[in-house]
């Protein structure tokens, strides 16, 4: 469980740096770093990019009701949300590491 959570957060850190071109070194992005104000400062467009990148990488679709600030506060809260979907991308990893 912990290993999977760590892997998930690591995947999202890389995604932020590689795909969203966040101007913060990957080493400074932690599970509790705010994604918006006072943290990475993601703008309105980056949120839309983040959503589609996550869906693509983990092979699932967000429910619109989950588009809420509290779920997108930081990587920790995003990981909680993603795990609730049991996305295919995560399940594959679970099997591989079992």
């Amino acid at each position: 469980m912990t290993a999977r959570r760590d892997w998930l957060i690591e995947q999202m850190r890389q995604l932020l740096v590689e795909k969203l071109e966040v101007r913060v070194p990957v080493t400074e992005i932690h599970a509790r770093t705010p994604l918006f104000q006072g943290g990475l400062g993601l703008n309105s467009f980056a949120v839309v990019d983040l959503i589609s990148q996550l869906e693509q990488r983990f092979q699932f679709q967000f429910r619109e009701a989950d588009f809420r600030e509290e779920h997108f506060r930081d990587l920790q809260s995003l990981a909680d949300l993603l795990e609730s979907y049991h996305p295919a991308g995560l399940m594959a990893l679970k099997e591989a590491t079992a």
């Binding site: 918006f36 703008n43 309105s44 949120v47 619109e64 588009f67 600030e69």
Partner: protein, 507 residues
């Protein structure tokens, strides 16, 4: 003073329009006060809210009085700066100044205001005091704290102006924004036009996910909503998440958007949500995106306007889909298209208007309005846009007048090249900018945003050759994932220009 002719209302928005007619036609101050009196008559459930704090119309006079009491002694009667944050505290400050006949610059800060250090050098010298609403720790409107900050100790010597003005900053595509000075009658006249065209009634719930301190948000959305007695919701921070959250909580009937925000909704959201009306302003939306947006969100109208004139034209909910999709709508009441003294030889005309509710002028260093001779001639305002009215009276905006260059002896309008590029498969948006001088004229640089289909600069250039004459084919192509935008939703040309100095050009 400009009067509004009594006209038959298109729709049964009865009581609202009656108030507005009285408001416009009577002596200003008295009518403003009658507006205040009418707040109490609005239904109690109708609120102005930022999602955290709310005030209903019946509570407004008390909230305004509380601010007035706090202001006495802290600031003299001269023009003030209101820090335009998207919160209820700011709404109360704005209404207070508007109703008490005090001049104010509705400033849109770009920095964090928590430490109270204001960039006084960038703020108009005729304003010596700034008002900042502090809503963070407030649990109710009564607890909002107002901070009055002076430029320096004992400098608040400005006196009340004979004619109070509301100053709104221009978009800031170029350096320091100019300040458009409006009398309250003209701003209200503009708002009346918007109430009528958008058919806003007290039953509407108006959502504004855009900056309040801007002509579009303030003049076309906020003031019309308040005049109509509608509920109104602001977003303190704007992104897809906050928008959807506000939508769920507030259940809006009218939404004011920019094409950029509309694209985000089309891209990310999973299901549609229909509003009575969406007003799409600040920039033009391509017909295909318009259709996709309307299919999910219902009746949409394009709004055309400027900081200098306010709302100029808009579609109406009564218009057919085709008219709303393909034009910026028809002129608002009492606005007229005027002949332009400087028409281009190629037939595209500069849009010029006679507008009864336009600004009084740009503020000079004393805050007095001055009409620039290059923009106003004999009561006619020359925009920088090209376009025309069609046989139905619908306005088609073709691009910017100053975005033209001579190449190979031909005049090339950037708007024409942009349209040609946008007609190519895979190109969702194109912006043309002028580059350095070349032997054939100023270089054309194309910034293209692509849809899913990747496309190289070479392919784009080849495609252009079949759609454009040689002299209009761009010299360089820059392919972008998204267009940098100002907070108003317009392309950020300065940011685009700065891209030219980096190494991202694919030529």
């Amino acid at each position: 003073m400009y009067g509004v002719k009594r006209k038959t209302c298109d729709r049964e928005s009865g009581y609202t329009w009656d108030i507005l007619l009285r408001f416009i036609n009577f002596e200003e101050r008295r009518c403003l006060m009658s507006w205040l009196d009418r707040f109490a008559a609005h239904p109690a459930g109708h609120v102005l809210t930022d999602g955290r704090l709310s005030v209903n119309y019946a509570e407004l006079p008390e909230a305004l009085a509380r601010l007035e009491a706090g202001a006495s002694g802290s600031a003299q009667g001269g023009p003030v700066i209101i820090a335009g944050q998207n919160d209820v505290g700011t709404i109360i400050a704005v209404l207070s100044c508007l109703l008490s006949g005090r001049s104010f610059y509705f400033w849109r800060p770009t920095m964090d205001l928590r430490d109270s250090t204001l960039p006084w050098d960038d703020l108009p010298e005729f304003c010596t005091t700034a008002i900042i609403a502090r809503c963070d720790n407030a649990t109710a409107v009564a607890n909002v704290r107002y901070e009055f900050i002076s430029r320096a100790e004992d400098t608040d010597v400005s006196s009340r102006q004979a004619v109070p003005y509301i100053y709104l900053g221009t978009s800031g595509t170029t350096a320091r924004p100019k300040l458009a000075a409006y009398t309250s009658e003209r701003l209200i006249g503009n708002a009346v036009n918007c109430v009528r065209r958008f058919q806003i009634t007290a039953e509407d719930r108006v959502l504004l996910p855009l900056p309040l301190a801007h002509m579009y948000g303030f003049g076309a959305a906020f003031l019309p909503a308040v005049l109509a007695g509608a509920s109104f919701r602001l977003l303190p921070t704007v992104n897809l998440l906050t928008f959807l959250q506000a939508e769920r909580e507030f259940d809006p009937t009218v939404v004011f958007l920019t094409p950029a925000l509309a694209h985000q909704l089309i891209t990310a959201r999973k299901q549609g949500k229909r509003y009575r009306l969406t007003a799409m302003g600040a920039d033009r939306i391509d017909p295909e995106s318009f259709a996709r947006y309307e299919e999910r969100h219902g009746c949409t109208v394009c709004v055309y306007g400027s900081t200098e004139l306010g709302a100029i034209a808009s579609g109406s909910p009564d218009d057919s889909f085709e008219r709303r999709q393909n034009s910026s709508g028809h002129l608002l009441d009492d606005v007229q298209l005027a002949a332009c003294p400087d028409d281009h030889a190629d037939g595209s005309a500069t849009l010029c208007f006679v507008h009864p509710f336009g600004m009084s002028g740009y503020a000079n260093s004393r805050g007095e309005p001055e009409l620039p001779a290059d923009l106003f001639r004999d009561g006619v305002y020359l925009t920088r846009d090209l376009g025309e009215l069609d046989a139905h009276g619908d306005l088609h905006v073709r691009g910017r007048r100053d975005d033209c260059v001579k190449r190979d002896g031909y005049l090339v309008a950037f708007a024409d090249v942009e349209r040609a590029l946008e007609s190519l498969p895979g190109v969702s948006r194109a912006i043309i900018m002028g580059g350095e001088a070349t032997p054939r004229g100023i270089a054309l640089i194309a910034f293209c945003v692509m849809e899913e289909r990747p496309c190289t600069a070479t392919e784009l250039r080849r495609a252009c050759l079949t759609h454009l004459p040689d002299h209009a084919v761009p010299d360089q192509f820059v392919i972008l994932d998204q267009l940098p935008l100002l907070s108003t939703g317009k392309p950020d040309r300065r940011a685009l220009h700065s891209l030219l100095t980096t190494n991202t050009i694919d030529s």
